[in-house]
């Protein structure tokens, strides 16, 4: 067990500068997917909460499909499936994009978290009290200002607890990256396990590391709630 830790501790945490592995990759995947997913989700949530059918129905369909299928299948589709299509392989831009395992993984994670986040934010936007919107319109605020100053700040605050859940789930979901050959924490654990034939130790170390990050994220969100949801206390 000690030899396993001695040989693999570096790979578990950060690998080498030329070839990063482990915790660093997991964190990078989590942050990148969440960031891109957030940016994507805000306009989509506005569209979903809108009364305009042409806007809300496509977004609803997208969210329904993504939430109804496993992330694993989505990842495989984007990694193995897309690259097998002739149309993709013959276009240089698409081909070079889907060739890289990293790109496929981040794309799959982003689309997935954007769908869930859209649902959360749309729910929060719909829960904005009527009175606030009426008052804003009485002040003469137009669409964009209305969203920017009134609806989004309060909706995002309301969504904070549910979004913190989604962030933890995204962290857990990054373990799938190993199946698309991205060398994240779970992949290193697999390597260690098949090298030393000590699965409990190898996966146990990974579990402890994930636990630590989860706790850190929960603590971060508690701080955020104390600041932004202070009016609820």
């Amino acid at each position: 067990m000690i030899e396993l830790i001695k040989q693999y501790w570096q790979q578990y945490l950060f690998g080498t500068p030329a070839h990063p592995t482990g915790l660093v990759i997991t964190l990078w995947l989590t942050v990148a997917s969440l960031g891109l997913g957030f940016v994507l989700a805000v306009p989509l949530a506005v569209a979903k909460a809108s009364t305009n059918r042409w806007l809300s129905i496509p977004v609803s369909v997208y969210a329904y499909v993504i939430r109804g299928t496993p992330l694993y299948v989505q990842l495989l589709l984007l990694y193995s499936g897309m690259y097998s299509l002739d149309a993709v392989r013959s276009t240089p831009v698409l081909s070079s994009f889907f060739r890289d395992a990293f790109n496929c993984t981040i794309l799959a994670f982003t689309l997935n978290t954007a769908a869930y986040t859209t649902e959360i934010f749309a729910g929060a936007i719909k829960a904005t009290s009527r009175g606030e919107i009426e008052a804003a319109r009485a002040y003469g605020m137009s669409g964009l200002t209305l969203y920017r100053c009134i609806i989004l700040p309060s909706a995002l605050r309301r969504a904070l607890p549910a979004y913190s859940n989604e962030v933890i789930l995204m962290l857990h979901a990054t373990t799938l990256a190993a199946t698309a050959t991205v060398p994240d924490l779970l992949k290193v654990a697999r390597n260690a396990s098949s090298d030393y034939y000590l699965p409990f130790v190898a996966y146990g170390i990974a579990a402890v590391l994930y636990l630590c990050i989860s706790f850190a994220l929960i603590w971060l969100f508690r701080r955020a709630e104390r600041r932004w949801l202070a009016y609820l206390r």
């Binding site: 299948v73 589709l77 897309m82 857990h172 989860s214």
Partner: protein
């Protein structure tokens, strides 16, 4: 041929997925009830143990837990049976999958049921005790039906998660839909074609159908458990 001869394999995989999900749901349901009872009990050590259980399980990714438990489970069971000089109990992958999924999602169900139980007005339970109902009768007639109404959204959510988690079980070797699709892809690739996109889309479609059917079932269940409740006028 529609599925290049792999239709049967995909169908078997679908059945396996459904069986796995339902049985895991059952196990997780039972563990969840026990866990919620433990968490809400008066004994400090019980609630502490339950809290440790839910925190650990929800803080670690399910794939890591699956890999951890899949190999360790059999190992511990072997040690147990060895210690008592018993015949080794064999856990086949299907049973292992159920145990692992049930164990993991039992933690999520614990939280769901805990929230559900807390939402039932305490007065109901006090009145039931005053009537002289035994604890089991209180649970069966008073607590459970009312708790289900509050717990139903959480249960439907967890069910969908279990259904999708069965896709991960293919990684530890079970023959469910995703593994069947991958086998189909490999099988047809040797004939010179590479229908990865097609078979994976089929797998995705199957899941979509399953989740849609589940949604319909839950809408029906919600109507049944909300009998007599007036919806708030918005």
């Amino acid at each position: 041929m529609l599925f290049e001869g792999y239709g049967r394999l995909l169908w078997n995989g679908t059945l396996e997925t459904i069986q796995l999900s339902l049985l895991s749901l059952l196990l997780a349901f039972v563990i969840g009830l026990l866990g919620a009872a433990a968490k809400l009990s008066r004994h400090r050590w019980l609630s502490l143990a339950a809290t440790v259980y839910t925190t650990l399980i929800r803080g670690v990714p399910d794939l890591v837990l699956m890999l951890l438990l899949y190999y360790s489970f059999q190992d511990w069971l072997n040690r147990l049976t060895d210690a008592f000089n018993l015949q080794q109990i064999d856990i086949d992958p299907f049973l292992a999958g159920i145990c692992v999924l049930g164990f993991i999602y039992g933690a999520y169900f614990t939280e769901t049921f805990r929230g559900g139980v807390l939402a039932v007005p305490k007065g109901q339970l006090e009145a039931a005790a005053a009537y002289g109902l035994t604890p089991w009768q209180v649970f069966r007639r008073i607590l459970f039906p009312q708790m289900m109404r509050f717990a139903l959204p959480g249960i439907s959510n967890n069910w969908q998660v279990i259904l999708k988690a069965t896709a991960l079980v293919s990684i530890i070797g079970l023959h469910e839909v995703v593994r069947a699709a991958q086998d189909a892809i490999t099988g047809t690739s040797s004939k010179g074609a590479y229908h990865a996109f097609f078979f994976l889309s089929v797998a995705g479609m199957i899941y979509l159908v399953l989740t849609t059917l589940s949604n319909l079932v839950f809408i029906a269940l919600e109507q049944r458990y909300s009998v007599g409740i007036r919806k708030p006028e918005l």
